[in-house]
């Protein structure tokens, strides 16, 4: 199938308005005849569920948490970007679009990125109206701060809990729609397959995680707001139960997977301290507004950070990138940290961290100001590490964070399966090869609230005469059987190797070869190791208990089975792209100064991979055409 991104006519700045003017919409009286399934209750899924219910569709929302308020959007700390230009610092929609395109190293779709910037201001209006307590100036107006990769202040924030506050607003909008009967929620449900009838997505097979029951649910369209799959690295900033399974099962039913290997490695997470660690807690990028990153100039430095004099410290980001300093984009900051640690300048017991130091900022602004800006982050840091970061620098380290890749979608956010849409981190379109800070909450929210509700109607307008979709069909029979067979197959392994141990081993392979720095030999090795591990999993995984009722080991095993396949595609994708761009850094394609070297002549495309019955993948290329910007070498020097 040839890819058609369905980019609307007209100049970039008019495309979205042209689209809205011409797209088909569904009469309000007909919306109540249409059912929509939304998978995921976070900012993208939850925003879509609430907004679609407000429009009058019948919406069912599924998520695995016990409440949608716990979706992983909750953990985003720093804020959400919008081109309001409240600071009078030269910001506008175009500048925000350009920063995002450049930040993504010219590997995202121009029209989508422009639209995200264009509707960003509406999102802030919406969230304020919902009662989000954003930070305010003393005059009562909204406050902003800066994030990496930009020279303006366009980030709106609610202390260090911005994601939580946006999510609660979205959750509350969902709860309102449940009250008025337009939305039904299915908590503690995991989607294990998508059902295709006559080539269209018409339902899902879900497992009730409380009872173990396998359920059928039908709809006229399905929306995935299923998030990212960075947990594939085992150690990551993601929630323990975040997973890639719904996306992967859809991929196997025909949804192309785009740029799967582009994972953002976040530069400021807590370092690993031991083998049993399950999680690398993120410390918000906003800390880089006031914190300075450094390592000791001496290798094997033994002194405490406070005893190392100024001239023996290497503020390597300020040294290498004087224009942006500590606020370079994440991919650049992570690679620079890796370079210093590999050269033997890492700090901490395992030499796997760098310092993030607030001494200068506290001297200049006072501890109270720092406390108001980042108080909860300092508290969180102390709770986990028992270190008071007002007194000594934080130790931070790069960690797997965000999936820039995801399900391929067109301008309408529709996947290659008609009737299956993907919003937020689950899709691939907006961030290119590197996501800018505070664009994640933005993309999730605008996809769910403002874009999808206006594009899905074009598809649904063909369904106003369809009537209710039956679940009593051979397609549902077959999908349900497949899911039940897989559950039985997992429980029949009865091996001795705990699932988490296999997952940790997969994570090590992936972080070593398919993360910050990649080379051909390493990835060929990784593919072989992944295949071996997959075989071992199916022969020797220890999955106790049964399918009736809660079984967390069974849940983890199902997700890991998919990760063991996703991992291979990630390596295949990274191997195929013989250039460096954004987070995809190929050691064999770098400049003399160690910066990423793009190859616009041969790789100016998004890679969309088609599943072919497990034999191999077929690559489809979506060419990236830039009409308003000229791709340049991305420089933050």
């Amino acid at each position: 199938m040839a890819l058609n991104a369905k980019i609307p006519e007209g100049p970039l700045k008019d495309k979205w308005q042209n689209y809205l003017a011409k797209t088909r919409i569904v009469n309000p009286a007909n919306r109540k005849k249409l059912d929509i399934i939304v998978v995921g209750g976070g900012l993208a899924g939850g925003g879509a569920a609430a907004s679609l219910a407000e429009l009058g569709y019948n919406v069912k929302v599924f998520f695995f948490q016990d409440s949608a308020r716990r979706s992983h959007s909750v953990a985003a700390q720093g804020g959400v970007n919008a081109a309001k230009n409240y600071k009078n610092d030269g910001d506008n929609v175009y500048r925000m679009f350009y920063d995002t395109i450049k930040g993504g190293d010219f590997r995202s779709r121009e029209a989508n990125v422009y639209r995200m910037a264009e509707v960003s201001a509406d999102l802030i209006d919406h969230m304020v109206a919902q009662g989000v307590p954003f930070g305010r100036e003393y005059g009562g107006y909204l406050s902003n701060r800066s994030f990496g990769g930009v020279l303006v202040s366009r980030t709106f924030y609610a202390r260090g809990q911005s994601g939580q506050q946006l999510l609660l607003a979205t959750y509350q909008a969902m709860m309102k729609q449940i009250k008025v009967g337009k939305l039904t929620q299915y908590n503690r449900h995991e989607i294990l397959d998508i059902v295709i009838v006559n080539g269209k997505a018409r339902g899902v097979i879900a497992r009730n995680l409380n009872t173990g029951e396998i359920e059928r649910h039908s709809a006229h369209a399905v929306v995935f707001g299923t998030g990212g799959f960075g947990k594939i690295f085992y150690l990551s900033t993601l929630a323990m139960n975040s997973n890639g399974s719904a996306n992967w099962r859809a991929h196997k039913k025909g949804a192309y997977f785009a740029n799967p290997s582009w994972t953002q490695i976040h530069p400021t997470a807590l370092p690993q301290s031991g083998e049993h660690q399950s999680k690398l807690t993120l410390m918000s990028e906003s800390l880089r507004n006031d914190g300075r990153i450094w390592v000791p100039k001496n290798k094997d430095e033994q002194r405490a950070p406070g005893e190392i004099p100024e001239e023996e410290r290497d503020y390597y980001l300020e040294r290498r990138y004087p224009a942006f300093g500590n606020l370079v984009p994440r991919d650049v900051a992570s690679r620079a940290a890796k370079e210093r640690m590999d050269a033997g300048h890492g700090v901490g017991a395992l030499k796997n961290a760098v310092y993030l130091d607030f001494k200068t900022a506290i001297e200049k602004l006072g501890e109270d100001t720092i406390k108001e800006r980042y108080g909860n982050l300092f508290t969180m840091y102390e709770k986990i590490t028992a270190i008071n970061a007002y007194k000594e620098p934080m130790k931070i380290s790069p960690a797997a964070h965000f999936s820039m890749g995801g399900l391929w979608v067109d301008y309408e956010l529709q996947t290659t399966i008609p009737g299956l849409f993907a919003v937020g981190e689950a899709n691939f379109a907006d961030h290119g090869a590197n996501r800018l800070g505070a664009n994640s909450l933005l993309q999730a929210s605008v996809d769910g609230n403002f874009i999808l509700p206006n594009t899905i109607s074009n598809y649904l307008s063909d369904d106003i005469r369809t009537g209710p979709v039956s679940t009593d069909t051979p397609e549902f029979d077959e999908a349900e059987k497949d899911v039940k067979d897989q559950v039985a197959k997992l429980l029949a392994i009865k091996g001795t190797m705990p699932v988490d141990q296999i997952h940790r081993r997969l994570g090590k392979i992936m972080f070593k070869e398919v993360a910050m720095s990649r080379n051909e030999k390493g990835m060929i090795w990784a593919i072989e190791e992944i295949k071996k591990l997959r075989k071992e999993f199916w022969e020797n995984a220890a999955i106790p208990g049964n399918e009736n009722g809660p079984n967390s080991e069974l849940e983890k095993a199902g997700r890991l089975a998919d990760y063991l396949e996703i991992a291979e595609l990630m390596a295949v994708d990274a191997l195929d792209r013989k250039e460096s761009c954004g987070a995809h850094f190929r050691e064999d394609y770098q400049t003399a100064e160690g910066e990423a070297m793009r190859d616009d002549k041969n790789y100016m495309y998004s890679s969309a991979w088609e599943w072919q019955n497990g034999e191999n993948w077929k690559l489809h290329k979506e060419p990236l055409e830039f009409t308003e910007v000229t791709p340049t070498v991305r420089s933050y020097k």
């Binding site: 016990d66 909750v74 953990a75 986990i384 403002f450």
Partner: protein, 248 residues
């Protein structure tokens, strides 16, 4: 470190549960409490025994999915921590630790340490929202809000909905949880239109769900991971009485 764990095991809400003893050794003080349970579950899995079921997700103290009453204290020994932020350095080598679910009539046990907190969702459904639909909002800066009011609204809005307040309260009251949402929205100008109905609907829903009454002991505020203040409960009572006086 070596620890003896007495863990509540219960098949489902209708069966009886009991404490089962497990021994763990070679633990590092830097291991988190939930990572310790991961270790236990790995050992159980290797022996083919069903895992101890417990709720957890973000493991950084913000999602509110983790629970557990540890040695009689919701979220463990440290004040204002979540269970996932609790580390073994808060215990001593050789300790015996009792681990139970959050107990309340409104939180039925699903299995072992997992409980069903959807009663809290239903309280929010009753009125814990502002009815502003997507697309109808005014320009954000057209509603100036005093810095201190926004900060105070945030203090209430920070509630993570974990239910530790309920698990701690001798009456199993969710007053702190309900008052945090009422406080968040009543402090802000955007929340004024539905202010009277909201407090009545939410307080009624709280009682209908079987949560107990508040007798102001303040135990809830002592364990709250986000340090939601007891003052919010006072404000909720004020809001409730006020709504009765000013109703149309």
């Amino acid at each position: 470190m070596k620890l003896t764990l007495k863990i509540w095991r219960q098949e489902n809400a209708t069966t009886k549960g009991k404490l089962v003893t497990y021994e763990l050794s070679d633990l590092s003080p830097d291991t988190s409490f939930l990572e310790m349970l991961d270790v236990l579950n790995e050992q159980l899995a290797a022996k083919g025994e069903p895992a101890v079921e417990f709720d957890h997700d973000c493991r950084e103290g913000i999602c509110g999915q983790c629970s557990l009453v540890i040695n009689g204290k919701a979220h463990g020994p440290e004040e204002h921590y979540t269970t996932c932020q609790t580390h073994l350095r808060s215990f001593s080598d050789g300790d015996t630790i009792t681990i139970e679910p959050f107990r309340a009539n409104s939180f039925p046990v699903i299995r072992d340490l997992k409980v069903d907190r959807s009663s809290m969702d239903r309280i929010i459904q009753a009125g814990g929202y502002i009815s502003s639909f997507t697309g109808m909002s005014p320009e954000a800066n057209s509603i100036p809000i005093h810095h201190d009011i926004a900060e105070s609204a945030f203090d209430s809005a920070a509630c993570i909905g974990c239910g530790a307040c309920v698990a701690t309260c001798k009456n199993s009251s969710a007053a702190l949880f309900v008052s945090a949402k009422i406080g968040h929205l009543a402090k802000l100008p955007q929340g004024q239109v539905e202010r009277n109905e909201r407090v009545q609907w939410m307080v009624n829903a709280h009682d209908d769900e079987g949560f107990g009454s508040c007798s102001n002991t303040g135990a809830c505020a002592m364990v709250c991971p986000q340090e939601v203040q007891l003052l919010d409960i006072t404000r909720m009572n004020f809001e409730y009485n006020r709504s009765k006086c000013v109703s149309k």
